[in-house]
Structure formats: C-alpha cells, structure tokens
C-alpha cells in the first residue's frame, strides 16, 4: 500500500464527514458577527458625521464606493505595445516559409510516445454561422430536398453497415434510389443539380489507401428528376468538417493531420498534404495555396476548397497548417482560431486568422495582444491554464469587419472569474481594433450560443440559475456590450449533433421571426417563449410557455419558419426517443402562431399536425390545413 492508494480510498470516506467538513467553521460565524457588528457601528458613525457636516467635512466630498465587481469595464480602443493585428500583407508565420520546412521540423519534434498520454492537442471544433450573412442563397445541408415535385431524402439504414442511400419519392411513393458508396452528410440543391456530400473513410470495403480517407462531393444532373445522372465527383483528403453552398459555389472544409489522441500521424508525412481530385484526376495544389499559421506544434491542417457548381471548376482553394482549435465560417468567409494546448508546462493564447471569399488572408487578431497579455508562457506548478486568457466563442464578418465574442477568464481571482468581451476588427480601418469587456451581473456564466444579426449579436448565457441574455452591438468598427439582466431558461446551442455519426443539424435556442420578435425554446424543451428584442437596452419576454404541448411530449430542435408569425417545430417521436428516426411512419409537428387575439391572454397559439416521416419535404407541408380533430 502507498500514499496513492490511501489517497484514492478517501473517496469512500463517510458522506456525513464530507458534508461536515464543507460547513463554515464555527469561528467564521463568530468572526462574521464580530466584524459585521463593527461594520454596523462604523456605518452609524459615518452617517452621523455626514449629517453633522453635509457640506464636506475634513475628508472632502464622499463618493459612493464602487463595488469590486464593476458592472462595466470598457477597454476602449487598443493601442497596445504588443501587435494585436497583422494586416493582410503580413505573412501568417514568421518562423516557417514553406510546408517542407514545417514538416521537416515536426518530423523530429512531435510523435506518439508511450509516456505521453492524454491531454494533447484536441481536434478542432467547428462552428457554422447559419444566417450570419445577408446572402439569401446561403444554405447549409439538409437531409431532404425537393425539386419539381420530386423529393430526395437521405435514408439511414443500419449504421453498422453504412447502409445508406438517397431515396427518390414522387407523390409520397418511392420511385428510385441513388446508391451511395459512403455515408452521406448532406444534400444541396441548386440550378437543377443535386449535390451529395459524403465522407469516405478507411474500411474493409474501401481498402486502406490514403485516397480512401476523405470527403466526396458528387454532383447529379436533374434534367430527368426521376433519374439523377452523375456528372462530377470531387474527392478531398481529410475528415469532413463542414460544407455549405453560397452564390452557386460549394465550400468544403476538411481536417487532417492528427490522430484522435491529438498527436501527429507521422508515419508518412507526405500523406498529410492537401489533395483534391476531380473525376479521378488530381487538381494541382500549389505552394501558394498553402499557408502556415504561426508556429504549429502539430501536423494539423484545414483544407478549404470552393467548387463552382455551374462549370465544376475549383476557383479557390487553401490549406492552412496550424494548431487549429476552432473553425468558424459564414457564407463567404472563414476564420481559423489557433491555440496550442497547455501541455508540457507551456501554453499559447488564441489567434484568429481571417480569410475572405477569395480565400485571401484578411488579417490576424492576436487575442493576447488585444488584451495586453503575453502570447505564450510557462505554466506554474499547479496551473492548468494561463492565469488570464480570452476564449473566443464566436466569430462573424459583416461589411468587411470581423466581429468576435468570447469569455475572458481570470484564474488568478479567487475561484476564477469571467467577463464577457466583444471585439470589432476592421483590417482596413485607421483604428483596427476596438474591444469592450463587461462583468455580468451573474457571477458565473457560460456563453451557450451566439445569434449573429446585421449589427449585433444576441448572446445566450447560461448561469447557475438558468439563463440570461447579453447583446453585442456593432456600429462599423465600434462595439458595445449590454447585459440585459433578463432571465430565461437555459438552452445550450450545439453546433452539430450526431446520431451514430450522422449529422442531424444544429441546435439554436432562438428562432428569429423578424420585426424584433423571437421564439425561444424553453429549457425542457416543451414550449416556445416569445421575446421582443428589438431594443437591446430593453428586451422583453412577452410570453412564457406553460404546458403548450401535450403532456409528456418534447419538442425537437428541427424548426421550419413558415412566415413572420408562424413556426413549425418537430416533435421528438415519443416511442423512439434516443433514436432519431424510429419505425414510425408519421411525425408530429407543433405549429406556433403569434396572435393578436387577447381574449385568451396568450399571444402564442399552438396546434399540432401529423405528416409522413419520409418522402415529403417540410417545405411543402400545409401547416394551415385544419387538423383532423
């Protein structure tokens, strides 16, 4: 037996002893009384002095004492000695001038090792910003689309056997299938073409060749909607990460280079270079389409390609190597957030590299520089992270100006504290960066979701006692944060949810209706609350749902905005909770309408309707048809 065993055995200490040890010691209570009494006496004396000398006594004017937790801390424009901004003309790495140099270095400095387990650089997360732009042609993938009365739907069979195909329906009946070699991620429809994006992965059927690991984009011509004809196949090396269609072009992001454990796969570094083929022919990926971001500690890269769906050309592509921790994207931009994991006793803070629709580098925000912190450093003996650091949660771009929202973490303060921050970055402006930072009224919080709008971000925040809202207002390159103080249910946004590896979409707490009105899921979710957020300084909850939907039923996060007053939300099929598409053939949708009828006292009216689960596109549902009952 040793100390470790004894230490572990303490887990089994009697619960009453553990509870007792967490109670404040008696002396604390006594001391509180003692000091509290003394403070009360001081207050009385101070008040007496103030009454005696109202025009200012010997101590001069008395100002109200600011609480230590200041409600608002604005940093104003940054004129830091550090260089928080690299303009577009700057190189993205001062250390490496070519990929060969980087790979040559990492070959000897990063590898799997039996004495290094866990905690390594994690796989990057991805955050799509649906609705972040004004481009109406922006579409994220769906699992069902329709064209001239014909419906195409990804049907999920047994995930163990990758049994998957696109079923073709007409008048509700299946009339054909498009067999898929690999699991489909999403369907897109544009100009008489059906686009199927699927991931290819190593498997017994596909063989172990590196070419089999990647993402396939297959384009079908729908001249005969009942018989889609395959015209083009693109294949990009790397794991599928995101794709979307905007302005007649398909954007595809894949990630490659590191194992799930976080260390570089160094068996053959040549395998970790970007590769794109079109109908089996290699598309040359020249050095000028490769960028190195900072000083990577891993062989990790994001490959972004843009496919013109009209002529099947690839006008732009770019591979970025770096310690990528987050990929954010919108209709015609993307941003890569880099950060080295805190390991080996060192950390490095985040940098945000921004790129426009032509994949041109539009500048870098060095988050450490913005907040006047050291960009990297050594961890103290008991430190898991830097004493203070900004944590970027969401990025968006509007009118050429980049906007960033995140949490500012202070580990150095007591039990750790956080502030909310917003950054506006104008690469071409005279004052490139403005930043605002506030301490919220809630002591502890998490940014659960950010809904970007034309000139503001609605920030859903989770607290100990539920949720609240904050707003980041943007005017050109200026930004301001508002803590609404409004309480609401906590709903955490999820960027991508999966069922057996099949992406089901995103969870977003708010459904925008226009005119400043929003429906928001309650926490369960078994209803929708109605908010008027037209004025950030005075947001209002107009209606809080209480049992709108049948008892025991739950709302799915799949919603369909029908018009400015009506939204349909799918129910989770009760019998198949835990699986997504159960054996049921029908699915119930709840239809919520904003009414002006004040007789019932409820501005939100709900009824439910049933529709077939497969073979129909929700876009064609007649939600207004009277229900059977």
């Amino acid at each position: 037996m040793n100390g470790t065993k004894l230490f572990d055995s303490l887990e089994y200490i009697s619960p009453d002893l553990i509870e007792a040890a967490d109670e404040p010691p008696k002396w604390q209570r006594v001391m509180w009384l003692k000091w509290g009494g003394l403070a009360a006496c001081l207050c009385v004396i101070t008040a007496a002095i103030a009454l005696w000398a109202p025009q200012g006594g010997p101590g001069g004017p008395v100002f109200p004492v600011c609480p230590s937790a200041s409600p608002s801390v604005s940093d104003g424009p940054v004129e830091s000695g550090a260089h928080p901004v690299d303009r577009p003309q700057e190189p993205t790495s001062d250390t490496y001038s070519s990929l060969e140099e980087l790979l040559g270095y990492l070959r000897f400095h990063d590898a799997h090792s039996s004495d290094q387990k866990g905690g390594a650089a994690s796989q990057p997360k991805l955050t799509g910003k649906e609705g972040a732009g004004t481009d109406s042609a922006w579409q994220t993938g769906r699992d069902v689309v329709s064209y001239e009365g014909t419906v195409y739907q990804i049907v999920k069979g047994d995930p163990l056997y990758n049994e998957e195909y696109v079923a073709i329906f007409h008048d509700g009946a299946e009339i054909g299938r498009v067999e898929l070699a690999t699991p489909a991620e999403a369907l897109y429809l544009t100009d008489g073409k059906l686009i199927v994006v699927g991931r290819r992965q190593n498997s017994m059927e596909l063989g172990p060749e590196p070419e089999d690991y990647g993402t396939a984009v297959t384009i079908y011509d729908l001249s005969d909607p009942h018989r889609p004809a395959q015209t083009d196949v693109f294949h990009q090396r790397g794991a599928w990460a995101a794709c979307w269609v905007s302005g007649g072009r398909l954007w595809l992001i894949t990630l490659d280079g590191v194992c799930a454990c976080g260390y570089s796969r160094l068996a053959d570094l040549d395998d970790y270079k970007p590769k794109l083929t079109h109908n089996g022919e290699d598309i040359h990926w020249p050095d000028e389409d490769i960028r190195i971001l900072g000083e990577p500690t891993r062989v990790k890269y994001a490959a972004v390609s843009c496919i013109d769906l009209e002529d099947s050309a690839v006008p732009h592509k770019l591979a970025c190597y770096g310690d990528i921790s987050d990929v954010q994207f919108g209709p015609d931009w993307f941003a890569l957030v880099t950060q080295s994991a805190a390991e080996g006793g060192r950390y490095s803070l985040q940098k945000v590299y921004t790129f426009d629709g032509g994949m041109s580098f539009t500048g870098k925000c060095d988050m450490a520089g913005i907040f006047g912190l050291a960009g990297s450093g050594k961890l103290g003996r008991n430190e898991a992270a830097a004493p203070e650091y900004p944590d970027v949660k969401a990025v968006a771009r509007a009118d050429g100006i980049w906007r960033i929202v995140g949490e500012y973490v202070r580990n150095s303060e007591g039990n750790g504290s956080k502030e909310l921050f917003a950054v506006a970055y104008d690469p071409d402006g005279p004052r490139p960066i403005t930043v605002e930072r506030i301490r919220l009224s809630a002591e502890r919080f998490d940014v659960d979701d950010v809904l970007w709008e034309e000139d503001r971000a609605i920030i859903s925040i989770g607290t100990d006692h539920g949720g609240t809202l904050a707003f980041a207002e943007f005017r050109g390159a200026e930004t301001a944060l508002v803590d609404s103080g409004l309480t609401c249910d906590r709903v955490q946004g999820v960027d991508s949810i999966y069922w057996y590896g099949i992406p089901l979409g995103q969870l977003r707490p708010f459904i925008p209706l226009g005119n400043g009105l929003y429906l928001r899921y309650n926490g369960i979710p078994d209803g929708l609350d109605l908010y008027d957020l037209s004025d950030s300084a005075d947001p209002k909850c107009l209606y809080k749902s209480t049992g709108d939907i049948p008892e025991g039923a739950r709302l799915d996060f799949a919603s369909w905005v029908i018009n400015e007053r009506t939204v349909a939300v799918k129910f989770i099929p009760e019998k198949s909770e835990g699986s997504y598409y159960g054996p049921e053939e029908i699915c119930t949708w709840a239809v919520f309408t904003i009414t002006s009828d004040t007789d019932t006292g409820s501005p939100v009216r709900m009824w439910d309707k049933q529709f077939p689960l497969v073979g129909v596109d929700p876009a064609s549902f007649d939600f207004f048809e009277p229900s059977d009952d």
Binding site: M1, N2, G3, T4, K5, L6, F7, D8, S9, L10, E11, Y12, I13, S14, P15, D16, L17, I18, E19, A20, A21, D22, P25, W27, Q28, M31, D115, Q116, K117, G118, G119, A342, E343, G344, G345, L379, R381, N382, E383, A384, A385, D391, V409, R410, N411, N415, G416, S417, K418, R444, D446, D464, H465, G466, R490, G523, I524
Partner: protein, 186 residues
C-alpha cells in the same frame, strides 16, 4: 428544493433534476473542482461531467440523504482524473505532492496491498476521523479530500499556516498508528 425531491427527479428520469442540482450545488461543486484543477474552464467541464455522471448513477444509487457528498465525490474524482492526465504530461505536480504527503501515513511494505480494497480502507479512515477532534478532522479533510491549499485552510480556520502544517503532520502520524493497529501494516 430538498435533496430527496431532487433524487426523486433523477429516479423518474426527469432532466430538470440536473437543473435543480446545478442551482443548489453548482457553486460548491465548481469550487471543489477549481481547487483541484485551478482553471475556470476546466472546473466548469468537471462540474458538467459531475451532472452527467450523477444522471448515469442515479439509479441505481439513491443518495436521498447525502446528495451533496455523493456529487462532491464524483466531482473530486473527475477533477483528479483531469489533474492526473495533466500531471502525466508535466511529470509530477499537485496530486503527486499530496500522495507523497500521505505516503507518510502508511507502511512501506506492499504485502497486504492485494488483499485490501479501497472501500475497506476508506471505512477505516472514517472511523479514525470520527475519533479525533472536529477541527483537526475538518482540516485533514479540507487538505486531502477537498484538496485545499495550506494557506486556504489557514484562512478558513483563522490560524497560521504553520499551525495547519503541524496539525496535519500530527494527524498523519496518528492515522499511521491507527492503520497499524487496524492491521494495515506488517
């Protein structure tokens, strides 16, 4: 909401159980985790993992009368695992330091190791702790269960760090003697 009601929600698979747990004990669990991992983000992750683990563990467990202790045990375990992963990379660290202190309580021999499980040992330590003065007991638990620093304990109990160190040293010595008597020694 009373602990019993919260546990009832878990047993009924009502997800609001997590919400009520967070509302009642979130702060304390976070503080416990922060004390171990020393990072606000990681502490939050530990807190959330605690809720997830509680959701998985109730049922079969029904900690109606000791819900906080049940949750705290999970939070401590989760936070320590995070710390151990990190220490594996840093080669030594906080957890290593504490276990080295507790090494003084137990004999060097490993003869009995295979025959003793942690639960029985935990019970023996509980019996020992019940036999000593409340303040000393709480100081010991604050240090080795809640993983507070010596300075934090000194602040909590309104005494000097030297006194805390001396008290812990003596309690460790007594624990060593007790464990010997209980047969945890050659």
């Amino acid at each position: 909401m009373e602990d019993e009601q919260i546990v009832e929600l878990y047993l009924n698979r009502d997800e609001s159980a997590v919400h009520h747990t967070a509302e009642k004990y979130g702060r304390r669990l976070y503080t416990l985790a922060f004390g171990v991992v020393q990072d606000a983000q990681t502490a939050e992750e530990c807190e959330n993992d605690t809720y997830l683990e509680a959701w998985r563990s109730i049922p079969p467990h029904e900690p109606r009368r000791y819900l906080y202790a049940f949750l705290a045990r999970i939070a401590r375990h989760v936070a320590l695992n995070r710390c151990r992963e990190r220490d594996a990379l840093k080669r030594g660290g906080f957890v290593g330091e504490l276990t080295a202190e507790l090494d003084q309580c137990v004999p060097v021999s490993d003869d009995l190791e295979g025959h003793l499980d942690a639960m029985a040992l935990g019970e023996a330590v509980s019996r020992f702790l019940r036999s000593i003065d409340r303040t000393k007991r709480d100081m010991f638990l604050r240090r080795y269960w809640y993983l507070d620093s010596v300075s934090a304990i000194a602040q909590r109990f309104g005494c000097s760090e030297g006194k805390v160190k001396t008290t812990l040293f003596r309690v460790r010595g007594k624990l060593r003697e007790y464990l010997k008597q209980e047969g945890y020694t050659v």
